[in-house]
Symmetry: C2
Subunit: 399 residues, 2 copies
Amino acid sequence: MFDSSTLFSNAFSGLKGNIIRELYKYTSQPSFISFAGGNPSPETFPNEELAEIAFKVLKENSVACLQYGVSNGILPLREYIAEQMTAEGVPTEVENVVITSGSQQSMDLLSRAVLNPGDRVLVESPTYVAALKIFSIYGARVEAVASDDEGLIPEALQEKLEEGPVKLLYLIPNFQNPTGITLPWERRKQIMEIVKNHNVLVIEDDPYGKLRYSGEPVPHMKTLDTEGQIAYFGSFSKIIAPGLRVAYVVCQEAIAQKLVLGKQNNDMHTPNLTQFIVNEFCRRGRLAPHIEDCCCVYKKKRDTMLSLLNEHFPKEIYWTKPDGGLFLWSKLPEGYSSMKLLEYAIPAKVAYVPGDSFFADESGVNTMRLNFSNASEADMEKGLRLLGEQIGRYLQVKK
Amino acid sequence: MFDSSTLFSNAFSGLKGNIIRELYKYTSQPSFISFAGGNPSPETFPNEELAEIAFKVLKENSVACLQYGVSNGILPLREYIAEQMTAEGVPTEVENVVITSGSQQSMDLLSRAVLNPGDRVLVESPTYVAALKIFSIYGARVEAVASDDEGLIPEALQEKLEEGPVKLLYLIPNFQNPTGITLPWERRKQIMEIVKNHNVLVIEDDPYGKLRYSGEPVPHMKTLDTEGQIAYFGSFSKIIAPGLRVAYVVCQEAIAQKLVLGKQNNDMHTPNLTQFIVNEFCRRGRLAPHIEDCCCVYKKKRDTMLSLLNEHFPKEIYWTKPDGGLFLWSKLPEGYSSMKLLEYAIPAKVAYVPGDSFFADESGVNTMRLNFSNASEADMEKGLRLLGEQIGRYLQVKK
């Protein structure tokens, strides 16, 4: 009489894995060259030092590492983050900081704290695929705000906000995923002026902000936040190591308290050990020089990819030239499909992410995301040559 | 125009911390003696070995520890768990195992995968306080099934199931939290016979099962599960260290896949480092002897508490004599309130958990949970003497 197929909740009965996970069955094959994932380069991981630090914190602080901890995170790490954010122009107390197990969890906890089914959520177009998934699990109506080569268009946001109540606005202002675009300072100011007049919470998701390889840094949107209207998401995944799963939210205390209640009822707390490891690494003053090293590695990879794209991609293809982050964004001519192109690319053992899944609506059929952080230089050379050839074939066949 | 007080979801606007967290402001004071928390004893933590193991796995397997991992958990640990469960009479493949960041997360992920608002969930009476919280966040109607000194009463379950569809039945068969009671084998069989005729998923939550100090082990309920009707929750929190946050679910593959989707959209994956640490500790054959050491420590603590209760508690007071776990359950005479008793206990600097929060209904006003794993022998002696005196005062005043 037990039938598991009838068991699942409305949100979960139709839920599927995302395209990046689905591509994994190809991209995990050894001879495959993938520009699909978003993994940081393992050559940037400070392996030796983290091994030594793990040993040290477990020896010197064993009970604090191994006993149950508090749901908002270990105090020294929250203090460090508060100091950093304050130094970056966002006055922050420890009560404003909640440690999470990765920014994915920041997004999930914030969503469950604020979203009721049917609530409107506004996103850039395109935007981070997992954010779309999470908002939809909570039953939100996700709407794309028109965006251009400089990111979200303030006037388009204004229009959307005037159509009726909006619960959340989700933004990735620096080196956006998937486009690599950075929202200029002028637009950040315009957007903050607009949202001030509306009862909407803004997520400033910033996993890549410190990975800048050219151009001038733009201050956080939250430096303009006089109303406590922004929840800022920071993360150590891309600047230390993602496998540690340590990230944080900086927001007003009333919201922080709800996130902590959500965390109590989700995973109780982020493992103390991984928090102490991150804290020790930062407290040694290792973060800033380490980020410089990462930027050096990634700048080279970005430049290599841009020059290989020039060399190997047909002239009809567009791509962005990001100042930082891990991704660039490319477009086939209108009328072509990047999903169809996979049928050429996969037999040639090269992959990217078709861009349509990054859109809240039906657009983006001709777009694709290319990651430049993970492949070696040799793989990048070979992979982009192969992909360029297959694009050429596809454009030829379709013509 | 931004007003965070209007922001929160229906589930979160009224959500409060649980009583154990609220008592923390007292129990965290240095001179306070607390029987309230559920912390394992830090003297059981294998500090030195875990420090050495953390160093080793990070040195030898650094990229796997630090890069993004798979959402269902690292393969060697899933294999280990599958072998163990198979050896314990539950034939298990790796596809049936999902690693989680603590059993709290197992509960949360399973709840979100199956619960729609209004679904009925049956629990023991009393039951784990955080489970009540999680089910209610997902909008479930939680109903208590009558339970006695041997745990859930099968006939009462039968009645509840016949009243209409039930989505979940939540059980802690071994050394239950909060009562310390173990469900006898005969009842396990009866319950499985009953649920077979209904489309209900059973959670067998077993965080304490391996911590047995007397009596004979009772096989898992899941050994009787021919229909894939049980999701078994195991955890390393009480037998290695809770701060590592490593636990697991064993269940049929269709359910495991939904849990993995939930995890992808929650925290992506449990940190690889903590998984590799647990795996290495287990693979060295250290788990079984370590559990023996823990049982030796806890048996002594349980026996001490039982003998001190005999010595210091008034004769009107009832308490359970658990064969394992971390808790025992006590009752004041009918008509007395353990919440009221706190007004005597807290000024005397001793605490326990008032039992009413462990009930899905309004019962349990005269009950309390006492933890015996955490206090030192000296604190236990002093704390139970103080508590016994205050109970005496309270009984006297009320008389």
